[in-house]
Amino acid sequence: MELVFLQLVGGLVKAMLLFLIASGLSLVFGVSRVINLAHASFYMLGAYLFYTVMEHVANRNLGYGLALVAVPVVVALLAGLLEMTLLRKAYKGGMLSVVMVTFGMIFLVEGITRIIWSDTQLIVSTPAFLKGAVSLGGFPFSLYYVPIVTVAPLVALGIWFLFYRTRWGTVVRAATTDREMLGALGVNVPRVFTITFIMAAWLAGLGGVLAAPTNALLPSMDSNVIIEAFAVVVIGGLGSIAGSFIAALLIGELLAFGLLVFPALSLALVFVVMAVVLTMRPWGLMGRQLPD
């Protein structure tokens, strides 16, 4: 029973992290039709920057708070820089150029990460106030899961509020539906693209910060996460944040329980689910039908 609970919780944590990454990916696609293949690289940057902050701030609790606030912003700004210098030039070349540029960005970011932080595995230890466990109905619940499980749903709520209760959200939703009309109505559409990209990178960076204590940091961690993020986005449907949330929960729990049943092939299980969902509902659970 305890094992089941542990897996359930582990899956939930994984799901929350996946949601943070996948929602950004879905968002960027919905607004600017860009598939940012380098999205997981922002997640990786977030984790590595978090490591650096924790290494250099003496008070680890303060460091954690600082990192939680500052690192996603730094990642977001960096992403904004990349978008404005590189991606914008690629838009006029069509989807081919854009996707190729994001593909090149994966290697750029990964290469720079290797240069700055070297190839060796790095470990961030959890700050003192998050060590230990709490008892939840008799089962142990690790304390460092708390930030993840609380922050992610809050962020989800924040995104919902942003998109459905603010003017900015309306603009973004309009961009998702009809960019040209939006431009004709006087909105600076490239700026909308850039800001959306920045927001998505912020989400990915936050995911990296939250995930860092749970995993060893390797320059190859983006490649591990990217398939899962893609699986979530494909199952949930591109452009749908709610779809990402549901799909993230599905994949998170699937991976967690898959590890119990099929430890070596839990990833193949994800592939099977993807295949099934795509055969039954080609545009994901909550996505829209896309043109070819």
């Binding site: 030039k89 190729m100 490649s223 893609f230």
Partner: protein
């Protein structure tokens, strides 16, 4: 491209073009021949990739999966089941094609956006399977001991072998794209809806193209396996998928021989850069970006008169 009116001149040109690769071993050392083989293998891999990108308009980010299937397929048959090398080698592209057909079936009918993500995902999944299935594939240690028969063990022997195989495959692919099938693919690339309206079953053609591309990538993989005498899980990793992509864009995706040219440049660049730094990855990334933004038609598309670096400026031109 140069247009020669005289048939005799054309014939001469063809003889020279064919003769140079054949005579190469007389002039090059063993190590250089080794590199020449690498170029040929990459050229085959990249041309198969360009069947999808340049001719069918499909961006497959997981093409390395079929390269790996070819390598591991032939390698495992050779080592585990003691199938003689020629047979194992011949079986490899069919294994790769089977994989491509299976994956393609799920990927090809989806919108392009999903196709991109799915091909990448499936390649990474194959990588994970090869990596983790230690007992069968040797996992991280790779598959070793893939020694070709006596005849092919020397640098010249393997060079000629690769030259013949790659030459035949390129010729076959050339005929494929310059045929009604190829024209259908180009039509699908330009306007899928119109192609469908005219009666071309878009998804079937895409599926066939995907499978064929996988077939030839499998040959490249098998060639590589017996060239390096081993196979590694990295053959399926996305960095391997980047090689044909970078080489194709560099050379020109709009020309059949673009990938070949791009492969030469890519391998030469690799040898050059790795002599000075181990951070080849950053260079590949930067290269892809610079080429896509600055030279969208590749090296073959550079028009000296129009050459301008202004396109790469991070701020608007005027």
């Amino acid at each position: 491209m140069v247009y020669l009116r005289s048939t005799w001149l054309r014939l001469l040109g063809l003889v020279v073009l064919a003769g140079v690769p054949l005579a190469l071993p007389q002039f090059l050392s063993g190590y250089d021949l080794y590199i020449a083989v690498a170029i040929l293998i990459l050229a085959l891999f990249t041309t198969s990739f360009n069947l999808l990108l340049g001719y069918a308009g499909m961006m497959s980010f997981g093409h390395a999966a079929y390269f790996a299937l070819g390598a591991y397929g032939s390698g495992l048959l050779f080592r585990e089941l003691n199938v003689p090398m020629p047979l194992a080698f011949a079986a490899a592209p069919f294994i790769a094609a089977l994989g491509a057909a299976a994956v393609g079936y799920f990927c090809v009918r989806r919108a392009h956006a999903y196709f991109i993500m799915l091909t990448l995902a499936f390649a990474q999944i194959l990588y994970a399977i090869i990596f983790k299935w230690y007992s069968f594939t040797g996992g991280d240690n790779g598959l070793t001991g893939l020694r070709p028969p006596e005849v092919l063990r020397s640098a010249e022997g393997y060079y000629y072998f690769t030259l013949v195989i790659v030459g035949v495959c390129l010729a076959v692919m050339y005929r494929m794209v310059h045929s009604p099938f190829g024209n259908a693919l180009k039509a699908i690339r330009e306007n899928p809806i119109r192609a469908e309206a005219v009666g071309i079953s878009v998804w079937v053609y895409r599926w066939v193209a995907f499978t064929l591309a996988g077939f030839f990538a499998g040959i490249a993989g098998a060639l590589n396996a017996f060239y390096q005498r081993s196979a590694h899980p990295e053959f399926a990793f996305w960095t391997k998928s980047a090689e044909p992509m970078a080489a194709a864009i560099l050379g020109s995706i709009h020309n059949f021989f673009g990938p070949l040219l791009g492969s030469v440049i890519f391998v030469a660049l690799h040898r050059l850069v790795t002599r000075f730094t181990e951070h080849w990855l950053v260079v590949v990334g930067a290269l892809v970006i610079v080429v896509v933004l600055g030279f969208p038609r590749g090296i073959l598309g550079i028009n000296i008169r129009n050459l301008s670096w202004k396109g790469l400026l991070p701020w608007p031109r005027t």
